[in-house]
């Protein structure tokens, strides 16, 4: 059952990318479906990332919400960088802080670290088990619980539902 779900997800992903690259042409779609099937059969024992994805209506809804919140944060972070760079005094108080995450799955941690890198003023430097070391451009607090709440919590709520 698990292998079937994983194979179907890999196949859909590969075929979607192929479709975006070629567009609506009957020959290319048929050739692509055959090639995608071969790749899925060969590699489905190695692509373990898709196994952790949950496929319930709630997780689907939360993925869409997550995408919206992520885009808003990305735009906010760009204006944050803009205001700091354009200011002649360069108002930065940087340093590396430590945060704790509750996520267990590997792919969930990957997406969380990527999102942290693209949100206002933070950059993931190192991950060790459940701790992330984050370079923060404007440190306001030292306590690990406060930093976790300020940086991680807004994404963690959604990723917990999507990946578990």
């Amino acid at each position: 059952m698990k292998i079937l779900k994983r194979s179907i997800l890999i196949y859909i992903f590969l075929f979607f990318v192929w479709f975006l690259l070629t567009g609506f042409k009957a020959q290319e779609l048929i050739a692509g479906s055959v090639v995608c099937l071969i790749i899925t059969v060969i590699y489905n024992s190695k692509a373990l990332a898709f196994e952790e994805l949950r496929l319930t209506p709630k997780s689907l809804l939360y993925s869409i919400l997550y995408a919206v919140i992520f885009l808003v944060e990305l735009i906010k972070s760009n204006f944050d960088v803009a205001s700091r760079v354009a200011n002649p005094k360069l108002p930065i108080h940087p340093g590396i802080v430590k945060v704790r995450t509750k996520l267990k799955s590997k792919i969930g941690k990957l997406i969380l670290a990527n999102s942290i890198t693209l949100t206002p003023g933070t950059l993931t430097v190192e991950t060790r088990d459940e701790f992330f070391y984050i370079h923060w451009i404007n440190i306001s607090t030292d306590n690990i619980d406060d930093t976790s709440r300020q940086i991680v919590a807004r994404f963690e709520r959604y990723l917990e539902v999507i990946f578990g």
């Binding site: 990305l74 960088v81 360069l90 802080v97 993931t124 430097v125 440190i139």
Partner: protein, 117 residues
């Protein structure tokens, strides 16, 4: 479609301004980590908007699918490469700038070394 052309052109212009901002940030910031912050964020959104604007503006050439693939690829790989570089820089012992306040990672590394000896 004149409206789509103008809309795409304006999105492209905003994207190029973000790209310029990222380069200015790379020039002005004091150390590697701050440069990475400015570089990654501004260039990710900037190149995404630049490509999207071009795709909207030249929609008749049928290249929007490829541009979407390119945008998704940049969105996923750009943070990973900057994370790898930051980790490598810290591992190689490149110091933070003098204005920095604290460095938890260095403290923890030294603590580990002390415990193992």
């Amino acid at each position: 479609m004149a409206v789509l052309d103008i809309l795409g052109a304006i999105i492209t212009l905003i994207g190029s301004l973000f790209l310029l901002l990222g380069s200015i940030g790379i020039l002005r910031m004091p150390d590697v980590y701050n440069r990475m912050q400015a570089g990654t964020k501004a260039t990710t959104l900037g190149s995404m908007m630049f490509l999207l604007g071009l795709g909207i503006s030249y929609i008749e050439c049928g290249c929007i699918g490829r541009i979407v693939v390119l945008i998704l690829f940049i969105l996923f790989t750009n943070p990973i490469s900057s994370h790898a570089l930051a980790r490598a820089a810290h591992h190689a012992g490149i110091k933070l700038a003098d204005v920095s306040i604290r460095d938890c990672l260095k403290d923890d590394e030294q603590e580990q070394k002390g415990a193992s000896v």
